[in-house]
Symmetry: C2
Subunit: 291 residues, 2 copies
């Protein structure tokens, strides 16, 4: 009688036990899954640009010299003009003094600039070295007034969104220090906007993607040579990297998906009343170490 | 009696039931965890360089102009030399012809080069723009014979490991196309090795890390200006990115952990019997689009 009475009690205990165990196991699973979700939280200010499938940093990690070319390419003798040591010192000093006058200028006049000069400075940028000689750059020169204004609209609109929505608290202090100028008049006034795209991959004859190793470094180096070429002819620009505008500008300019905007350079003469922040540059001893 | 006999049977069933449930829940947890592990598989050819905590691409995504500086910095009038259109065209053409003679040269003579020239080309590189004027570059100039040879040992050793162990199948074809020259004699013969480090973050007075936005693009642009300055004085180099050597070279050269090797440039005069691959560059119409 006693044990007959006990059986349903056991049954009850079992049910409770099973309930507890199942619940516990479910929670354990949830915990682990939530960890996973944290790992894959969206970061809009980054992922929007990644829509262009440009996250190839891993694939860019092939190293070595950038001269890697088909082995069947013939080698030819190379020689270069050799200057006297006196000339070398003078040329190096003159070039330094020329480039040291370069400043980032945001007050650009609408005075016209000869197209031939723009062609030549971009030809010059095209002499840059590149990983495996892929030459992974496209220089889009915008002189059309309407297109320039559309670019300005996109950039000013996106920038507002960036500051209002995309920036995490961790950026607040940095932004406080940054001159967040909403008005980018130079995008209308500069006679040319040069938008530099990096080709993050190429296409093989069989239609497969061909990784462009070091495309970002290669194109940035080309931009350094472009800045030197602009300074050499007395034109000014301001180096800008429109945040999150890449995809929209790429579509506006009809560039393919393998190209990602790296820099935008408005190019022209400075306004007569142009100003620049009163900055200094680090002295040589702060940037050079000799061993 | 019957129910008295059944009780232990119930107990047995309970034990089996509990066993099954617990096992099942454990396996579910394992499955999810193994998913997580897949997400974080090690990639030696990347992660070794990341030991320098340089994966700041997310933090580098702050956009806009690079002139962002404290608002309390005074602005001063800016003017630049204005050339006649005729002069501009000529200067742009001459500069293009000078830089178009630049080639990546791996056959570098041991003829000495005046230190003053090296100082000036690095001064010139230091005029480059940088995100928020952080000037995040360190140029390590190595002229010491023993240090140059240690650098060569590290690079040749690491390169062998790279090719033998680190490259995935997906790279095999690319590598076949690359001239994998194991001997890097120029690392001994070049009178100077310039190792360019990017400072991926700086230190604030309170000891906290200060992100250097766009440090890689900034330093690459500076390297483009450096290449132009070298070409301007008749010196040659080959752009190289020693794969996975960054941390070892950083330690060898006594650079801090916030600096990561970006490029290594051996600098000198070309050998008399120097050769270069018989390459051509893309014509202007292949790299420029005008709108």
């Amino acid at each position: 009688m006693a044990s007959a009475f006990l059986t349903p009690v056991f049954m009850a205990i079992i049910c409770v036990l099973i309930g507890i165990i199942v619940k516990g196991s479910r929670e354990r699973t949830k915990k682990v899954q939530s960890k996973m979700n944290k790992k894959t939280e969206p970061r809009p200010w980054v992922d929007e640009d990644l829509k262009d499938s440009t996250e190839l940093h891993v694939e860019e990690e092939d190293g070595g010299e950038w001269q890697g070319i088909d082995n069947d390419i013939a080698h030819v003798p190379f020689s270069t003009e050799r200057y006297s040591e006196e000339d070398m010192v003078k040329r190096s000093k003159d070039f330094y003094e020329l480039l040291n006058k370069r400043r980032s200028v945001r007050f650009i006049s609408n005075n016209p600039v000869p197209r031939e000069v723009i062609d030549n400075v971009i030809r010059t940028a095209g002499t840059s070295p590149s990983g495996a000689h892929t030459e992974p750059w496209t220089f889009v020169v915008v002189q059309d007034v309407e297109t320039k204004h559309k670019i300005r609209d996109i950039i000013e609109e996106e920038e507002e969104i960036n500051y209002k929505k995309r920036m995490g608290d961790r950026w607040v202090n940095d932004l406080k220090r940054l001159r967040t100028n909403w008005v980018k008049e130079y995008l209308d006034t500069a006679p040319y906007l040069i938008l530099i795209f990096k080709q993050v991959y190429g296409m093989l004859p069989d239609g497969k993607k061909k990784t462009h190793y070091y495309n970002e470094i290669s194109v940035s180096i080309a931009c350094g040579i472009l800045l030197a070429a602009l300074q050499n002819v007395g034109l000014v620009t301001v180096t800008s990297t429109p945040l999150n505008c890449g995809p929209r500008l790429r579509v506006l300019l009809g560039r393919p998906a393998n190209e990602k905007l790296l820099l935008l350079l408005p190019v022209g003469y400075p306004n007569e009343d142009a100003t620049v922040p009163d900055l200094t540059r680090k002295p040589l001893e702060d940037i050079m170490v000799v061993i």
